[in-house]
Symmetry: D2
Subunit: 365 residues, 4 copies
């Protein structure tokens, strides 16, 4: 109820502050007998961790995950899986100058106003560090989805005004390989090169820039999604909007769809004549109709605002409402999207895993 | 769990199919002693009902609401408020030709695939008729918000490629008056005229077109929103995405924000020197920081795809997967946004009412 | 959250006051394609309705149920099933003398204290009339359980100090037939006769008396129940304790078990040698071990206090805290257990149906 | 949903197996600014830990708790409070002989049947060791309740057939002092002496015995409890029934109340004439009417079956259903109630804290 739990049947509860002892997550509802591959979980965390490249923050965290419960002899037991990620690089002193000052476009003021108390060290709970716990749990969700043949792939589709072309492949393994070859995590190598140059310039300016992450889900079983409120895209949208810095979500035809006519937007069904499941000629529906997956590729895009921490001095106020200046120093990400790709995938995986379970009780037979 | 409940503390459960006996809603968690103005609830429903003008469907429904419980001598009692809206214009025969055919970009196929059974009369549960129940409950949410001084205003900000300019007033009552003077519900009269002409042309073509609804929330108390998952904008986003035909949501700087730099996007705080609550110079944050309302105006935009029901014959398939043709006949909305304005407001009100209550338990003192 | 919803996956939300327009229930999560037998639902309600015999209240209510949604051509569609039971005998004037007076051991005072407003007509929401909605939903739960071969049987096992012997049959149909042959709903005819005589005397005294209802569940699948908090008996216990007038719950060895030694209480497993599921020699566990059904018969007992409405004049206070007298008049049940039998069964069925669905997602394979 | 979460607004999620790395809990929803006294939390755990006396198991666990998050400079921050209790005495080998054998009246068989996999070391998740996490969270609940003046006190009211007299004091501090002076935790020293002798004899027999814990709650605010399903006693009942080995729950007049007449059972209100809140002459209602606290002392009793682990050899079966013998060895509690007292208090505190928060949103004014 206090907002730190996500999912209904495949449900996570996260905890932890940026500069506390540890962050972590309890995953409750993972079905029993799922093989749990700790190396895979760690590899997912490695894609989110800071210090990966010149275009990510230089904060050092190994983000080593430990499983405390719920796994026995390599398999889930049906009991809660608790995972712990100790905080290592707790340079709290870096943040001592912020104790009494509200950083612009951060959550300093709103946390103080809401709770009357604030762990000011590195943003505390409002830090994107919290998303590491989501990635750990999302990795287990991916293992469950993989078991059902479902694949999720996200990449950086824009940085500032630099946009990647549409995906050139339907092969997720191939896309993944291409994406991981560049530090910005764009599936188009040429665009990736431009993006990296651009972000590096932004970094040298001490500034930041926004971007977009696009995601596809392949082999989603027909039927996932629970109308009328828990439509599949509504739950995906909430999941994405709950990620730090996200300001927008669209699926299928998205915002452009609002400019289209019905006669062009309608996805015409192709006759199957009994061979396999129905497909549609176009996919403006983004793989979801009436809130329920229709078996076509699910696709959506997530817009991230520029990171608020910049290396410029900024005017602001302190807790007393008096004018104050905040110094531009410390470590920061010039652009969050390269590290956000795996967070988007993790949240998508959590939504899918949840709806996979929920759909198991939709029929008597 | 099956998706027909929305909200945590101020919680609605809706029921009903398009052509069944009635639709309705139970609102559980409305605090006691709230004056319940039935006329206001009905007036909200009247803004959503079909048959209002030449640019809405000609289906006739008075959408008369009846309160069955939870209100005594004009006030809420703290017990569940059940509201019933009988279906009047149940011309089921209009839909008999659709019994075995999947209409393109409707939910016919996905409902059948998910449940193995489908009430095919007018879309059954997947019909936007269900949103009448949301509007009724949302009206009570508005009464609660009004009690706390919170105002919500939405209008049609685009139809197809016709876009309205930014709002010219901060006075919600004035905006509302302007909006209700035109049948498309746009707060800019000149744009409204263009939109109406355009939609009427679309209607004559037997086609449909998408559009956008923009919404502002004024006087939202600082502190509403529950990080990390139930961020205020995440819950707003889910609420909007759960409305039929919505394909996108953005708040604050939205998708454009992804192209900006941090140095221009950051909302600088203005010194209060002890006078009132902090304000920011700009509002790219859209009134929400770290998922918590910061006291500035909340604003967001919702993209609607074009209505799938068109008056053209279309190729499709039947339940056996065989090619079939669907005839363009019956009654339909050429553009859904004029009627969607009040649905957007209702869902926003439900989210705000819920978070208003949730925030009451955030502190010991 | 406000307490009017029960169940997780098979979930009901009830509404309505004793003397309002109607009471009712939304059942969300009933799996699609379940045949819905309206006659059976009505027959269950008939067992709870007032005015059945000389030992129940003479209030007249036909308790005729109407299904508003969620059922199409005789089967559940997977969408919410709303059911309505209009209130007919709304003699509000009978209760006008109670407007300002708190009846002893009723909920008049606590509702007023909690909500600051109270529908005083016949107890409003606190009336046991609300349980009719549970019985209607419970009937559908029974249909789902029947589909899985699960049987539930309850009867009056004591009235005052008159106790029935242990059940003499394992045949639920037979037990049911015997039970329904007497108006007190005890499966032992001789004891039933004593109970009826006793209650009739109590009634003539204008007094009331408590009693107990015992319930068995046969053919419960092994595995139902979700440790550690949602143990099957914990959910059964909550379900029973939520029924008006219930003051105690025990299962298996119950309170007597607290006097036993482990060496006598342990239920020894019998070797199956591969033939069928394990059984135990004794069943002090009441069919549940570690919160999970073990396949043996589930049994529990529920204690009801005497009804608070008596035909004697009683000293009490009014809302101002001043001494007042309450007159003994109106219609009342001298003993609630004969009508409570079907409520106990309904709540048990709702718990079982919920856990049946919940258990479907406990394993990957 | 999978059963490891308890509470709605003041909500805990526990994790961990008996012989895993650690057990722990996330408490979400603790209001901000509550002083968190770690020493008090530890002192509560010390009352539950094994190895306290000759009548408890000799397993050695310091049960040292660590707070990982949610507390800053000694106060709650409104973010999740995670607590970790490492397992120290992990003598898994003690349990290796049980790998393939189902111990009678344990959860070995049902966990295996439900999940198809089982952590057999010391009962895994089904071990009462899990309750340590509840005690830690319950201690924080007690701190919140103390802040509101609410006191909870439980003690051992019976062991086997040895029953303690009614409490001789209304002073919780005094009762607590008396209780803690004896190792069985009975508030009556003379009875305590008898109980200890009896349990010691049982222990020497290698046997176990059941008992009862009774609990009172003082200064509970009028209004707590959420009808109709989340009645205060229904939530207390579920809380107690979720504790390992509990087979029964009663409040107020309890099972005896089923034998009483209304004319004797009704709690007559005493006139206040404007001085303070209404009181009743008797308290058969146990401080709760219509599911809502009425300001009188809340009281209830919990029945525990005898511990299943005995030092006798027992006949049983293995996973193949073949006859097997289980050896009586290892460490065990001859009677669970002395250590259960603080668990009962913790669960009661969690229920009260939850309802305290829930009641904050029951009225507009």
């Amino acid at each position: 109820m206090a907002g730190n739990t996500f999912g209904q049947l495949f449900r996570i509860s996260t905890f932890g502050e940026s500069h506390g002892i540890a962050i972590g997550v309890i995953l409750d509802g993972c079905p029993a007998q799922l093989p749990i591959d700790l190396d895979f979980i760690q590899s997912e965390l490695d894609k989110r961790k800071p210090g990966q490249s010149k275009i990510t923050t230089q904060r050092k965290e190994s983000d080593t995950v430990q499983i405390l419960s719920g796994v026995f002899e390599g398999k889930s037991t049906g009991t809660p899986i608790a995972m712990l990620i100790p905080n290592e690089d707790q340079r709290s002193k870096d943040y001592s100058h912020n104790t009494d000052v509200y950083r612009p476009s951060h959550a300093d003021y709103t946390y103080d106003a809401k709770y009357g108390i604030r762990d000011h060290r590195g943003g505390g709970r409002s830090s994107a560090r919290e998303t590491a716990a989501r990635v750990a749990a999302g990795a287990i969700a991916k293992l469950l989805l993989k078991h059902h043949g479902i694949e999720i792939f996200a990449h950086v589709s824009s940085v500032g005004t630099i946009k990647a072309p549409n995906l050139q492949s339907n092969d997720v393994a191939e896309l993944l390989a291409v994406r991981e070859e560049n530090i910005v995590r764009c599936a188009d190598p040429a665009t990736a090169h431009q993006m990296i140059e651009f972000i590096d310039g932004i970094r040298k300016d001490g500034d930041t820039v926004g971007g977009k992450v696009s995601c596809i889900i392949k082999n989603c079983p027909v039927g996932l999604g629970e109308p009328v409120f828990d439509k599949l895209h509504a739950d995906l949208g909430k999941a994405m909007l709950s990620i730090n810095a996200v300001h927008g979500f669209e699926y299928g035809s998205g915002f452009e769809g609002s400019e289209m006519r019905g006669s062009e937007h309608n996805d015409v069904f192709l006759a199957t004549n009994g061979e396999g499941e129905p497909k549609t000629l176009t996919n403006f529906s983004g793989g979801i109709q009436g809130g329920i997956a229709n078996g076509m590729e699910i696709n959506f895009t997530v817009a991230f605002k520029p990171v608020a921490t910049i290396m410029h001095n900024q005017q602001t106020i302190n807790a007393a409402g008096e004018a104050a200046e905040i110094k531009g120093k410390g470590r920061h990400d010039p652009c969050v999207v390269p590290r956000a790709v795996v967070i988007v995938e993790a949240m998508a995986a959590l939504v899918l895993a949840d709806h996979l379970l929920r759909n198991k009780v939709s029929r008597v037979f």
